[in-house]
Amino acid sequence: MIEIKNLTKRYGRGDGATTALDNVSLTFEDNKIYGLLGRNGAGKTTLLNVITGRIFADGGAALADGASTRENDTALGSIYLMSEKSGYPDNMRVREGLRWTATFYPEYDAAFADSLCRRFELDTKKRVKSLSTGYASIFKLIVALSSGAKHVLLDEPVLGLDANHRDLFYRVLLERYAEKPSTVVVSTHLVEEVSAVIEDVVIIKRGKLLLEQSRDELLASGYTVAGFADRVNAFAQGRRVIGEDALGGLKTAYIMGARPEVTPDGLELSRIDLQKLFVQLTND
């Protein structure tokens, strides 16, 4: 379990300082897949970097199984962070990178890594620097998923991957999770894609925790109503509307609360999707 307690991180000093994380507290429980969502600059990457001790918080703490991750090899060794920039030397060959990961992570699954290399058609003789953006992501994904770490954090895991590889990644993630459950945190912009694989949703907005909830609860907590604008407006009266889309005389409203059992005449009620909810919740 990863606990984040009152984490605060600022960049810069004085008037120009930016607060990337503002007193964030949350928990990533064992054996769950989380979606860490937020707009650009929301603080997702900063949060993951602070958890793994790559950067230092100005306040608060990150704990892995109750132990601070700050300069703690045991706690850090229980986490693998796949980040946008790989820490592997550019001139290192892929197979060397895989071998070295096994040195640091005793639970590293070499057979699984080999099978993933074959499934993703990753050439292990290539040097890290010669991999395309997509294959660099695949290399990092294979290392992360094979590391055997108890907590796997994936920051923009499908960056540069084509649709086929993205699909394969989500399947592999679920297969691995079913076979060997672990805590997986997927930080991404591709909300709709990740929606099918995550169990819980964490949304960060401007460095603050906006929401921490199970995906199913979240999706059940709202609905969309669509129809002619005047009817939608009338229906929305007195309800908590988190956003609206209008096109000509038609309108769609995103409403939080229990969905009515009976659909009003001339309106269409439907389940809210995670991406729409995310957009409405994180819009300014």
Binding site: N49, T52, G53, R54, I55, F56, E71, N72, D73, T74, L76, G77, S78, I79, Y80, L81, S83, E84, K85, S86, G87, Y88, P89, W100, T101, T103, F104, Y105, P106, A149
Partner: protein
């Protein structure tokens, strides 16, 4: 600190170092051979009296370079793989101690071989330590091991400082420190302080090297270099412990 992580950290940080030592000593051996042949030819053909030949300073520069070159790549890789800064640091200290002793032994071995080969040529192959102190092999090994550890520590410290500095500061420090040390200070020393800085430097160096008068004291440089090496690594740790991974 997990022992496994320390071992892995040492293994990783040492991975290319053995190769670089092999290359370096290969080059040193070639240089020794070429220079020896040249010296012997000059002596026989032109009757020129050969001078002194040793490669002590090359090893010091090499040790400095190993310290300078290894930081960034190791830091990002070890951070990527869940190794703390502390474990990485102690791994580097362990490698430096072993490598410094190893280089001192390798130097001594090479030196002994060439001394034997060039025995009758009149060429002076004594090391700087032999010439300055003449205190025997154990003291010579300790002297060079301490000197190499100091050079490696200095290189490591500089590498971490440069890693942490913003781009503009890298340029300012990279250009400013040499200008300050080799241009401004000598000018200030000569024109404003009437040699007080050079006097102080000379006094310090003499005490470090144990040549304050009478017979040179070989223990002084060994202890001084070892203490300075510890100080360099202490400074390196103070700089490293707050270093963030720069993406």
């Amino acid at each position: 600190m997990k022992n496994m992580n320390l071992k892995a950290s040492i293994r990783y940080q040492a991975r290319y170092q053995l190769n670089s030592y092999a290359v370096f000593y290969g080059i040193v051996a070639v240089v020794y051979i070429v220079l020896s042949i040249l010296f012997v030819m000059m002596t026989r053909r032109f009757g020129v009296t050969p001078g002194t030949m040793n490669m002590d300073s090359a090893t010091v520069i090499f040790a400095l370079c190993t310290g300078l070159a290894v930081f960034k790549e190791n830091f990002t890789m070890l951070q990527q793989n869940g190794v703390s800064r502390r474990t990485m640091f102690w791994g580097r200290v362990a490698i430096t101690v072993v490598a410094s002793i190893g280089m001192a032994l390798a130097d001594a071995l090479l030196h002994a071989i060439f001394k034997l080969v060039l025995n009758n040529t009149g060429l002076n192959t004594d090391t700087l330590f032999d010439m300055g102190y003449g205190a025997g092999l154990p003291a010579s090994l300790a002297f060079y091991a301490a000197a190499y550890a100091l050079a490696a520590g200095l290189g490591y410290f500089i590498a971490i400082v440069f890693y942490r500095l913003p781009k503009l500061w890298k340029v300012l420090v990279g250009a400013g420190v040499p200008i300050l040390l080799f241009v401004v200070l000598p000018l200030v020393d000569v024109f404003l302080l009437r040699g007080k800085i050079s006097d102080a430097l000379e006094w310090t160096l003499k005490h470090i090297l144990g040549v304050t008068g009478g017979a040179p004291n070989p223990i002084a440089p060994i202890v001084s270099f070892a203490c300075l090496a510890v100080a360099m690594f202490a400074l390196a740790w103070a700089t490293l412990r707050k270093a963030a991974v720069v993406n």
